[in-house]
C-alpha cells in the first residue's frame, strides 16, 4: 500500500513538473500530505 501511494505521488508530481500544470501539482501535493499523515499515524 505504501509503495503504491509513494509511486503514485512520484508519477503525478513528475508529470506536473514536466507539464508545468499547477492543478496536477496540487493533487500530487495533497496525496503526498495524506501519505505523510498516514505514515505518521502508522496506518501504512
Amino acid at each position: 500500500m505504501r509503495f503504491g501511494l509513494i509511486g503514485t505521488v512520484l508519477v503525478i508530481l513528475i508529470i506536473a513538473a514536466l507539464l508545468q500544470n499547477v492543478a496536477l501539482g496540487g493533487i500530487g501535493g495533497t496525496v503526498l500530505l495524506i501519505l505523510i499523515i498516514l505514515l505518521l499515524l502508522g496506518r501504512i
Binding site: G25, G26, G29, L33, I37, L40, L41, G42
Partner: protein, 415 residues
C-alpha cells in the same frame, strides 16, 4: 539505649516515573514543520494564494482575499500536525498527555523559530506574514507621502500642465497637418521623377521618432522653418525643396487654425494659456464678489513672462501667499486690492485641491490599515489553530505508538 527515633519520608506511588522530554524528537518535528510549511508556501505562490501575491498586487481595497486567509490557516494546520505527530512518535511515548505536551512544546519551539527567522528577514515560513505587515505599514507611509507630493506637484503643474497640454494639441495638429500637406506636396512633384509615393511619405512622417518629432515641433514653434525643413529632409525620403514646401504650407495652415494674424506660434500658444488661466482665476470667486474681471486678469497675466509665471506658481505651491501677492504686484500693474482678490481666489482653488488629495490619502491609509489588521488577525488565527492542531497531532502520534508498539492491559483496582 537510644530512644530517639529518626524519621524519614518515604513516598509511595503507582505512577510511573515521568517520561523525560525528548528534545531530539522535538527537533525532528521542528524541521518537519518548517519544511512542510515551506513546501505549502511554494505551492501557494504557484497558485496565487500566498500573502506575497496578495500584498504585491497592492489592490488593497478588496482587503485580504479569503483564499489567501484560508490557505494561511490550512498550511499552518497541516505543517503543525505533521510536526507534532512526528514528534510524539519519535519520542516513543505511550502516555497520551505526555504526547500532547510534546506537541505543545513543538508548537512553542516552531513559533519561536519562525519569529527568529522573521527577525533575520525570512518571513515566509509558516506564512506568519510579519514581513507583509511591516510592508503594509511602509505602504501606508508611502501612500500618504505620495498623496502629499502629488498635490504639491499638481499645484505646481497648473502652469506647466496647461503649457504641456497646449504642446500636445499643437503636436497633434502639426502631425495631422504635415500628413495632409503631403498629398499636395507630392502632387507638385514631376510624375517622371517620382521616386517616392504618397504612401511612402506619409509613412515616413508617421515613422519619425519621438525625438525628431519633438525637435520638429520645437523648430516650428520657434519659427525656425529652415531647421524644420532640414529635419524633414534628413529624416524622410523627401528632397529639400519638397520638405520646404511642406513646412511652409503646414506652418501657414497652423497659423490660420490658431487665429494668429501676426506674430509667432509661441505667442499664440501663450495667448491660449493666458485665456484659460484668466477664466479659471476669475471663476474662482464664484459667489459673485468678483471685483476683478477676467479681462483685467488676462491683461495682467499677459504682461508676465514665463519666468515670472513659474515663480508665482512655485510660491503658490509652497503656500507662500504673501510672496505670490508681492510677485504679482511687482510684475504686473494691478493694484494691491486687485492682487489680493486674485490671490484669495487662487488660494480657495488650491485649498480644495489639497483637501481632495488629503481625503484620498486618508482613505488610502485606512485601506492599508484595514489590510494590515486583516493579515494580523489571520496570522493569529493560523497560529492558534496551529496550537490546537499540534496538541491533536501529539495525541495522534501517541495513539499510533500504543497501537503499534505497546500492549495495553486493563488491571482491576481493589479498593
Amino acid at each position: 539505649m537510644n530512644d530517639e527515633i529518626g524519621y524519614r519520608e518515604e513516598i509511595r506511588t503507582n505512577l510511573p516515573r515521568p517520561t523525560a522530554i525528548s528534545w531530539g524528537a522535538i527537533l525532528a518535528g521542528l524541521f518537519a514543520t518548517l519544511g512542510v510549511s515551506w513546501l505549502l508556501y511554494l505551492f501557494g505562490i504557484a497558485v496565487g494564494v500566498s500573502v506575497a501575491d496578495a500584498s504585491d498586487d497592492m489592490l488593497l481595497d478588496d482587503g485580504l482575499p479569503q483564499a489567501v486567509a484560508l490557505w494561511m490557516v490550512l498550511s499552518a494546520a497541516a505543517a503543525y500536525f505533521i510536526g507534532a505527530a512526528l514528534t510524539s512518535r519519535m519520542a516513543a511515548v505511550a502516555d497520551e498527555t505526555v504526547g500532547m505536551l510534546h506537541g505543545l512544546t513543538l508548537w512553542g519551539v516552531a513559533t519561536v523559530a519562525t519569529l527568529l527567522f522573521a527577525y533575520c528577514g525570512v518571513t515566509t515560513l509558516l506564512q506568519t506574514g510579519q514581513g507583509f505587515v511591516a510592508g503594509a505599514g511602509t505602504a501606508v507611509v508611502n501612500t500618504a507621502s505620495a498623496g502629499v507630493s502629488a498635490t504639491a506637484a499638481g499645484a505646481a503643474g497648473i502652469a506647466d500642465g496647461a503649457q504641456a497640454l497646449a504642446d500636445t494639441d499643437l503636436a497633434d495638429s502639426v502631425r495631422t497637418e504635415l500628413k495632409d500637406r503631403v498629398a499636395e506636396a507630392v502632387a507638385s512633384v514631376d510624375a517622371d521623377d517620382a521616386e517616392v509615393s504618397e504612401e511612402d511619405v506619409k509613412q515616413a512622417i508617421e515613422d519619425l521618432d519621438e525625438e525628431s518629432f519633438d525637435e520638429l515641433v520645437a523648430n516650428l514653434t520657434d519659427d525656425d522653418q529652415e531647421a524644420a525643413a532640414a529635419l524633414i529632409a534628413d529624416s524622410t525620403s523627401l528632397s529639400s525643396e519638397q520638405a520646404e514646401a511642406l513646412i511652409e504650407g503646414a506652418y501657414n495652415e497652423l497659423k490660420d487654425q490658431l487665429g494668429v494674424e501676426d506674430g509667432s506660434l509661441v505667442d499664440s500658444v501663450r495667448k491660449t494659456l493666458i485665456d484659460q488661466t484668466a477664466q479659471a482665476v476669475a471663476a474662482f470667486d464664484a459667489k459673485g464678489q468678483t471685483t476683478v474681471s477676467a479681462s483685467e486678469v488676462r491683461k495682467a497675466l499677459r504682461s508676465l513672462d514665463r519666468e515670472a509665471f513659474n515663480a508665482i506658481t512655485e510660491a503658490a505651491m509652497a503656500s507662500d501667499w504673501e510672496e505670490v501677492q508681492d510677485l504679482i504686484v511687482a510684475e504686473t500693474n494691478l493694484s494691491d486690492d486687485e492682487t489680493e482678490e486674485i490671490v484669495r481666489g487662487v488660494k480657495r482653488a488650491y485649498r480644495s485641491r489639497i483637501k481632495a488629495a488629503t481625503t484620498a490619502a486618508s482613505e488610502a491609509v485606512e485601506t492599508t490599515s484595514t489590510y494590515a489588521a486583516q493579515i494580523l488577525w489571520t496570522t493569529f488565527a493560523a497560529s492558534a489553530i496551529g496550537l490546537a492542531v499540534s496538541i491533536l497531532g501529539g495525541w495522534c502520534g501517541v495513539e499510533a505508538n500504543k497501537r503499534l508498539y505497546y500492549e495495553v492491559h486493563e488491571k482491576p483496582v481493589t479498593s
